[in-house]
Each structure stands twice: as structure tokens, then as C-alpha cells.
């Protein structure tokens, strides 16, 4: 029983962490350009870095 009282809160916390992470990503606009995100990784950085936020 004691191991349960440790493991269950840990499991729930990890789950909640995942949820918070998802909501944070959502709020910071990371799902707004799914196609663009996939392509941007392929763009080479140049000295005049163009991607400013």
C-alpha cells in the first residue's frame, strides 16, 4: 500500500506535466503552422538570420 501512495502521485504528476506541456505548446502558437515547422528545420542558417520572432 505504501508503494502505491508514492507511485500514484508520481504517475499523476507526470501525466499532468504532459498536459501542461501540451497546453503551453498550444498557447505559444506551436500548432499554428504545422507544415511550416516541418520545412523550417531544413533551412540553413545564414549570417543574416532572418527568422526573428
Amino acid at each position: 500500500m505504501t508503494n502505491l501512495s508514492v507511485l500514484i502521485p508520481i504517475a499523476l504528476c507526470l501525466g499532468a506535466l504532459g498536459l501542461v506541456g501540451f497546453l503551453w505548446a498550444l498557447r505559444s502558437g506551436q500548432f499554428e503552422d504545422m507544415d511550416g515547422a516541418a520545412e523550417r528545420i531544413l533551412i540553413d542558417d545564414e549570417e543574416d538570420q532572418s527568422v526573428k520572432k
Partner: protein, 750 residues
């Protein structure tokens, strides 16, 4: 890397139109404070990572640009710029091959989407954790551990249900309040009762709790809803991203000679406006000064350009082709032709018979049966055993097991997959129910100008004209912007002989005149070129003597014949309805082998004809592009418009197709029919599932484990069945590959 963005062709049509002016850019921007302005432009030609880089690096190099960021999904670029230093954004984008244009701003972020995503996230968290606890309960946890797990599950489920479930509760409540039922009613009842029963069991240390079933049901349904919303939103954004045909404003000439660019809604009757060649008329008015040719095809459906001279009435939406003019506004934008069309559209829409969606009709039949079954089960158990607690538990188990999870996913999943398939082929479906309606049509009515035929005419007697005459005509025509002149220029013989005309002048509404070796050459209207009243057609003349005459014909949209044949072979009656004159419409109808046609139809009568056909019991697909078609598009049972259509027409239509090829129409129809079939299959699967599960539930053998397995199983089968629409092993009329090729050529040329 996919380099054939479905939006590319719509953009091409746009690139022929006047691009955005700096004044329009300023009007479309919004201040961010500190003198920084932000504007969002549609750049439909952006289609890969390379494009992102080219656009962003070129824009950021400009003086006055604070930052720029491309959104590849929506094909838009957001630019922040300094107010006191407007950068040459438009020119830069055009020069690197990404002509931008402004679009209708839908006003901020999509609230519904973020609400759905949040709800899905919360439901997903709750479902996975509760399921984890449930697995240990199912595998035989001892009583005290089971109770603990039930309590934890209950605590997780409360907020999840309240937060994620409110989308369903709200919709169910609003339907019930209006005395109707929809799919959300049985879902809400099932979920709420499952929770209530489980809570009761938990408090009394019962063995069975259904928290997992109620939350994972919500999770599955929310995934379906979110996908449905994302797909429809994508289509809507793509349609919004198409070039606006209506101008944002106009150059107003003051009495003191000043020129001010004013937004459309500030233009008052009585103002004098300057309209450059290539601009659209912003409001209804009268020509004051200058003569020009006007393209009325968007407003009236007439294919041949009309002549306008001082005193001619012109209407909003017409296109000034050849010469700058000044006009006097006679109506404000809100009273202009365009606004009149919007009013007709609203009237037509209110008269449209309400279509009840398949899912709602299914649930209206399903819910009473299920609820009655649960009620009868309870009565039967009370009579048989006299145990109220057991009877109610079994009755609720019946409701939980019949909660229409599969049924709730049956329709949206198929429509999501269908919309995706259409999207890939350049057809935007704006509404799921439109697909259901399209599958039922028995009549298709086509507009002529701009729909069956495309803007540019075709020279049909090139063979009869000698090379010498053709060379002369082409050299003269090169001095004119008239669409027919461009056709003549394009038809010149393949050599590089140049002819040096002198004293070249273009006379608006008549043609081009020039001198060569002492003789006067005229190309244009026959009565003017030959100096004879009553002569008709387009001719080339030397000192009034006929050298060649040119005959034109509207060019048919690509694959029109095949597309109409495909529709007719499916038993759909095809009609033409146009605002153009009898002769032109009859020619096209004869050519396409269509016996039913109407010519010279006014916009209001087009909508009325739709209502008449509906009264006859016909289900009509209307395909049209002009302003004058907009009321009919709104009145029809279901409607389609090409990407080149007028803004209001595009917004009124249920489907917008981006490619030139007409095969988009039979293709969409086929997808719609195929979706209808899959939806019916899904309903059959859901019913079959119930036929097996309900007897088990009625007899009282359902445990939470059986409920969870049965419900997830049926949902997965339904989703898998919907995905079959993506399989390519069934025969389709795909828009032919040649349809996309010209676009690529042009794109390379840009």
C-alpha cells in the same frame, strides 16, 4: 517535396489583376504601437521550405521591415513594418515571384479550435490516467485498493467531465431547449448517467465503476470533432486566401485637383473617382471623362467587352480594361450593385429549405429506441427480481453501452477523410453537410461566362487569314490592352519580322489605328475600320479596305465536355443559365450538346429559377462564378464556384475548386457519393454492434471491462472504415494531370 500546392492556380488568376497598392496596404495594416504596423498578406505561391526562406530573407533585407514570418499552412506572411517608413513589400514579393494579395480578415484567432484542442488535451490526460487505474482494478485488485482507485478516478473524472464535456452538454441543451434532439443528447445523457452511477458505486464500495468508459468516450468524440473542425477551417482559410476582386478603396479626385485614396465605405455619392486601366469599378456610377472598354462578365455574364463613354452607367464589380477614366459615384458602396446582390443572397438563403444533417436524423431515430430499451429493461428487472438497485444499475449499463460513440464518429470521420481527399485535388469543402447534399443531386445548372467558358476568347479562323495580314494585325494589336487584341497578338506567325507603324493611337471602344507607308491601318470594330454602318465583327482594314476579318469564340474551360458527360452518365440533368445574350448561350449549349438553356437571365431570376426547381422537387447543384450568380448559389440545394469567382460568390458556394479543369465537379460528386456509402456502412456497423451488445447489457452481464472494450472496438472499426476513402484502388475521375501543368509553366515564367 510537394511542389504542386493546390492553391497555386488560383494565384495565377490573381496575378493578372492589379496588385495591392501601398494605400491598400496601409488600410489593411493595424498598428501595434511604437509606430510599428502589422499586415498579413496571402502569398499562395509559397509551397516549400525554400519559399519560406526566400520570402523571409528578401523581406527582412528591406529598409523599414521589422520582421516577417511566413505561415506555410495558411500560405500567408505576417510583416511588421515601421509606419514612418513604408517598405516596398509588394514590389519585392512580386519581383521574387510571390505576388501577394489582401484577403478578408476573419478577425483574430480561431476560438473554437483552441477550445476543442484544450478539451481534447484534458480529456486525453484524464482518459489515460483513469484507464491506467482501471487496468489494475480489472486485473483483480483487492477491495480496499479498488475503492482507492475508484476515488482517484472519480476525482480526475469530475474536472475532465465538466471541462471537456461542456461542449457536448451545451450543444445538447440548446437542441433540447428548442424541442429538438441531436447526436449530443444521447451522448450527454450516457456520459452523465455513467458518471452518476459510478460515483454512487464508489461511495458504496461497489465493484463496478464506469469512469474510464465515460471519459474515454469523450476523448474519442473530441478527437473526431477537432479533426472535423481543422479540416473545414483549412478549406475556409484557403478560400479566404484567394484574391479579393472587390477593391478596398478608390482614388478620389478633389475639386482642387487633390488625389486621395479613400476606403470603400467612405466613398459618397457625388464624389469623382479616378479609375486606372485594369482596376475594378468600386461603386455604381456614371462615366464622366474618357472612353474605355469594360469587362462586364463578372456583373452581368456578358462575355464580350462593352464600350463605355461619358454618360455610360457602370456598376460596381465591372473591370476597366483599356483606358483610365474618371467617374462620378452615384451610390455608396453599401447601396451599390454588389450590396444589392448580397441582399438578394440573404433573401434566397432564408428561403432555402432547412437541411437536417444525416447524423442528426440518425440520432433522432436512435435516441428514443435506446432510451425506451433502457427503461423497459429497468421495468422488466424490477418485475423479475424486485431489486431496485440492481435494476437501475443494469438500465444505466444499457445506456452506457449504447452511448453512440461509433455513431458520433461515423459521419465526421468520413467527412474529414473526404474533405482531405478533395483538398489534395484542389477542391475546398466548406461544410460537411454540403457533401451529404451533393451526393443527392439530380440536376446541375451551370452559368456560362467564367464557368463553362473562361475569360479569354479564342480565334477560330486563324487558318483563313494570311500570314501577312496576321503579322500586320499582331503588330497593331500589341498596342492595345483589349483582351481580343491579346488573342490576336498571340496568334502571330512564328518569325521575328517587325513592322514599324507610326502615329499609333488606340480609340477606346473602336480599335487601334496606325500609319505605315502612307496608308492608314485600322484594327477593331468593323463599322469603324471599314467606315460602313452596319458592318459587324472584328476586322483589319487598310484605308477602309478589308484585309482580314477575325472570328472569336469563347474558350471552353478545360475538360468541360468530359465533365458534363460524366455527370449526365450518372443521370444528372444538365442546364445552362446565363445573363449573356441568346446567340452566345445557344452556341455554347449546342457545342456541349445541352438542350435546356436560358439566356439573358437577371440575377434575381436566377435565384427564382433555383426556387422553382426546388418546388418541383429537384435537388439542384448550381455552378457559377459571377456576382450575378451569387443569389442563385445561395438559393441552390448545393453550390460550387471556381477560384476565379467574385468574392461574394465564393463565400456563398459550398465548394470552391481551384484548378481550371471542370473534372473537379464530377470528382467531387463521386467523392460525395462514396462518402455517403461509407457513412451508411458506418451506421450499419454501429447498429450491428448494438445488436450484439444490447442483449448482453439487458441481461445484466456488462462489466466496465466489457463496456470499455466494446466501445473502443466499435469506434476503431468505424474510423478504419472511413479511412478506406483514402485507398486509391477505386475508379475515380481525377482532375487530369494536364490540368495542373499550365500552372507550373506559368509559375516558372514568373
Amino acid at each position: 517535396m510537394s511542389c504542386c500546392a493546390p492553391v497555386a492556380e488560383g494565384a495565377l488568376a490573381a496575378s493578372e489583376r492589379p496588385i495591392v497598392t501601398t494605400e491598400e496596404l496601409r488600410l489593411a495594416s493595424r498598428p501595434l504601437g511604437n509606430g510599428v504596423m502589422q499586415v498579413e498578406l496571402a502569398v499562395p505561391n509559397v509551397h516549400c521550405g525554400g519559399c519560406i526562406h526566400t520570402v523571409e530573407s528578401n523581406l527582412n533585407k528591406l529598409d523599414g521591415v521589422v520582421s516577417s514570418r511566413v505561415n506555410l499552412s495558411t500560405k500567408r506572411v505576417t510583416i511588421k513594418w515601421r509606419e514612418n517608413n513604408p517598405p516596398a513589400v509588394i514590389e519585392t514579393l512580386v519581383s521574387i515571384g510571390y505576388p501577394p494579395h489582401l484577403f478578408e480578415d476573419e478577425g483574430g484567432k480561431d476560438k473554437v479550435l483552441s477550445e476543442l484542442l484544450w478539451a481534447t488535451g484534458v480529456a486525453g490526460f484524464a482518459a489515460s490516467n483513469i484507464m491506467l487505474l482501471s487496468v489494475s482494478v480489472w486485473s483483480g485488485a483487492e477491495a480496499s485498493t479498488r475503492d482507492l482507485f475508484h476515488w482517484i478516478s472519480a476525482l480526475i473524472a469530475i474536472p475532465a467531465l465538466a471541462y471537456a464535456g461542456r461542449i457536448f452538454f451545451r450543444s445538447a441543451w440548446s437542441a433540447l431547449r428548442r424541442g429538438r434532439t441531436n447526436m449530443d443528447v444521447p451522448i450527454s445523457i450516457g456520459v452523465a448517467l455513467a458518471y452518476a452511477l459510478s460515483l454512487y458505486e464508489t461511495v458504496h464500495s461497489g465493484a463496478h465503476a464506469y469512469f474510464d468508459a465515460s471519459v474515454s468516450l469523450l476523448f474519442f468524440l473530441l478527437i473526431g470533432r477537432t479533426l472535423d473542425h481543422v479540416m473545414r477551417n483549412r478549406a475556409r482559410v484557403a478560400v479566404n486566401g484567394l484574391a479579393r476582386l472587390a477593391p478596398r478603396g478608390a482614388t478620389v479626385l478633389g475639386e482642387d485637383g487633390s488625389r486621395d485614396y479613400l476606403p470603400l465605405n467612405e466613398i459618397q455619392p457625388g464624389m469623382t473617382l479616378a479609375i486606372a486601366a485594369g482596376e475594378r469599378i468600386p461603386v455604381d456610377g456614371v462615366v464622366l471623362d474618357g472612353a474605355t472598354d469594360i469587362d462586364c462578365s463578372m456583373a452581368t455574364g456578358e462575355s464580350a467587352p462593352q464600350t463605355a463613354a461619358p454618360g455610360t452607367d457602370i456598376r460596381a464589380g465591372m473591370l476597366n480594361l483599356t483606358h483610365p477614366i474618371t467617374m462620378k459615384a452615384t451610390a455608396a458602396a453599401k447601396d451599390s450593385f454588389l450590396a444589392e446582390m448580397v441582399r438578394l443572397m440573404e433573401a434566397a438563403e432564408s428561403g432555402r429549405a432547412g437541411y437536417r444533417r444525416l447524423a442528426d436524423r440518425a440520432s433522432a431515430a436512435y435516441a428514443p429506441v435506446v432510451h425506451l430499451t433502457a427503461f423497459l429493461t429497468m421495468i422488466a428487472w424490477v418485475v423479475a427480481s424486485g431489486d431496485w438497485h440492481r435494476s437501475i444499475t443494469i438500465a444505466i449499463a444499457v445506456l452506457i453501452i449504447t452511448c453512440p460513440c461509433a455513431l458520433g464518429l461515423a459521419v465526421p470521420m468520413v467527412q474529414v477523410v473526404a474533405a482531405r481527399r478533395l483538398f489534395e485535388n484542389g477542391v475546398m469543402a466548406k461544410d460537411g453537410s454540403a457533401m451529404e447534399r451533393l451526393a443527392n443531386i439530380d440536376t446541375a445548372v451551370f452559368d456560362k461566362t467564367g464557368t463553362l467558358t473562361v475569360g479569354d476568347a479564342r480565334l477560330i479562323n486563324r487558318d483563313e487569314i494570311g500570314d501577312d495580314a496576321m503579322r500586320l494585325a499582331a503588330a497593331l494589336a500589341a498596342w492595345s490592352n483589349h483582351p481580343r487584341s491579346r488573342v490576336i497578338t498571340a496568334a502571330k506567325p512564328e518569325d521575328h519580322e517587325t513592322i514599324a507603324f507610326s502615329d499609333i493611337e488606340e480609340q477606346a471602344g473602336y480599335g487601334v489605328q496606325a500609319k505605315l507607308d502612307g496608308a492608314t491601318y485600322r484594327l477593331g470594330r468593323a463599322s469603324w475600320a471599314l467606315g460602313r454602318e452596319g458592318a459587324e465583327g472584328t476586322v483589319l482594314a487598310r484605308d477602309g479596305e478589308l484585309l482580314a476579318s477575325f472570328r472569336f469564340e469563347d474558350r471552353l474551360r478545360q475538360d468541360t465536355v468530359e465533365a458534363l458527360q460524366a455527370l449526365q452518365s450518372r443521370g444528372i440533368r444538365v442546364e445552362i443559365m446565363s445573363g449573356d445574350n441568346e446567340a452566345n448561350v445557344a452556341t455554347i449549349a449546342r457545342k456541349l450538346g445541352i438542350s435546356t438553356y436560358r439566356a439573358g437571365v437577371l440575377p434575381g431570376d436566377k435565384a427564382k429559377h433555383m426556387a422553382d426547381l426546388a418546388a418541383e422537387g429537384r435537388k439542384v447543384l448550381m455552378v457559377g462564378d459571377g456576382l450575378n450568380d451569387a443569389p442563385a448559389l445561395a438559393a441552390a440545394y448545393v453550390s460550387m464556384a471556381p477560384a476565379t469567382a467574385a468574392d461574394v460568390g465564393r463565400n456563398a458556394a459550398d465548394f470552391v475548386f481551384l484548378h481550371e479543369s471542370m473534372t473537379a465537379i464530377p470528382f467531387t460528386h463521386q467523392i460525395a457519393q462514396r462518402s455517403g456509402k461509407l457513412i451508411r456502412q458506418n451506421f450499419a456497423i454501429a447498429i450491428a454492434y448494438n445488436l450484439i451488445a444490447v442483449p448482453i447489457a439487458v441481461l445484466g452481464y456488462v462489466t466496465p471491462l466489457i463496456a470499455a472494450v466494446a466501445m473502443s472496438g466499435s469506434s476503431i472499426i468505424v474510423v478504419a472504415n472511413a479511412l478506406r476513402l483514402l485507398a486509391s484502388n477505386w475508379k475515380v475521375i481525377q482532375p487530369s494531370t494536364s490540368a495542373t501543368r499550365p500552372a507550373h509553366k506559368l509559375q516558372e515564367a514568373l
